[in-house]
Symmetry: C2
Subunit: 131 residues, 2 copies
DNA sequence: CCGAATCCACAAGGATACTG
DNA sequence: CAGTATCCTTGTGGATTCGG
């Protein structure tokens, strides 16, 4: 139980030390980027996201949405209709990210081939002579 | 065998659809951002990075460096001296990312408190009444 | 339609000890 | 100094099933 307190303290320290990298990890997580850009143009429904984000499973989409909602980047609106309808919309905080995220994806697309080739070269050098 | 071709085609499509997210995942990975910005000002040595990146373990730093080197974002130079000296330097491709990454960290710092509070609120609502 | 719950496989990551 | 090797814990994510 003092162990418990130690853990909490440690967590607080680490959070103060790099909240930035933690936040970045969230927004730049595997599915977060896709979700955010997919929600950029306006409110989207769950299944729209499911299709838009490509390889995401329902489970991971749900988890990602919860995380983003928890961080205040996404607002979740439930319409108590039948069948149920849920819409997700970016908050202003999240919208500020869109430009940056687009820069990131632009960069990735620009250097896609370069990076792919760099990997191939690297792998060759390591396969042939491991030293 | 047309099935086989279908699979290959699908894989190619998916690779074309999201090499971006894969690349982003690498550069925005847990430690990659820290390593890249730490190496921004010039060549850095291993232990410099170890101190600069904060919570990173030697193991993870090594793995991160290898990944970035493989992607052609980092150049590793070994000086065969004693004691050994290894320097890491960003490539031009990686340098193009610096502005974007800084925008990301700036955004994170600007909204650090907002996000922290959003989480607290969210957690309270979920703890007190789980539904 | 939009999830929650459970199970399971695997990968990420930390701790520690050892090397050249 | 700059790693490598090993063990072990935690997290990530798919598959499936169930419910409102």
């Amino acid at each position: 139980m003092s162990q418990r307190n130690m853990d909490v303290t440690r967590q607080l320290i680490e959070q103060e030390a790099c909240p930035v990298s933690e936040v970045i990890d969230h927004v730049a997580g595997k599915w977060s980027v896709g979700v955010i850009v997919a929600a950029a143009h306006g409110p989207v429904r769950f299944t729209e996201l499911e299709r838009a984000v490509n390889g995401v499973s329902r489970r991971m989409l749900t988890l990602t949405l919860r995380k983003l909602e928890r961080d205040g980047l996404l607002v979740r609106t439930v319409y108590p209709t039948v069948p149920p309808k849920v819409e997700y919309e970016l908050t202003d905080v999240a919208r500020e990210l869109l430009d940056t995220l687009r820069q990131l994806t632009d960069w990735a697309e620009r250097h896609r081939m370069t990076i792919t080739q760099a990997r191939a070269t690297y792998d060759l050098e390591n396969e042939s002579a491991a030293g």
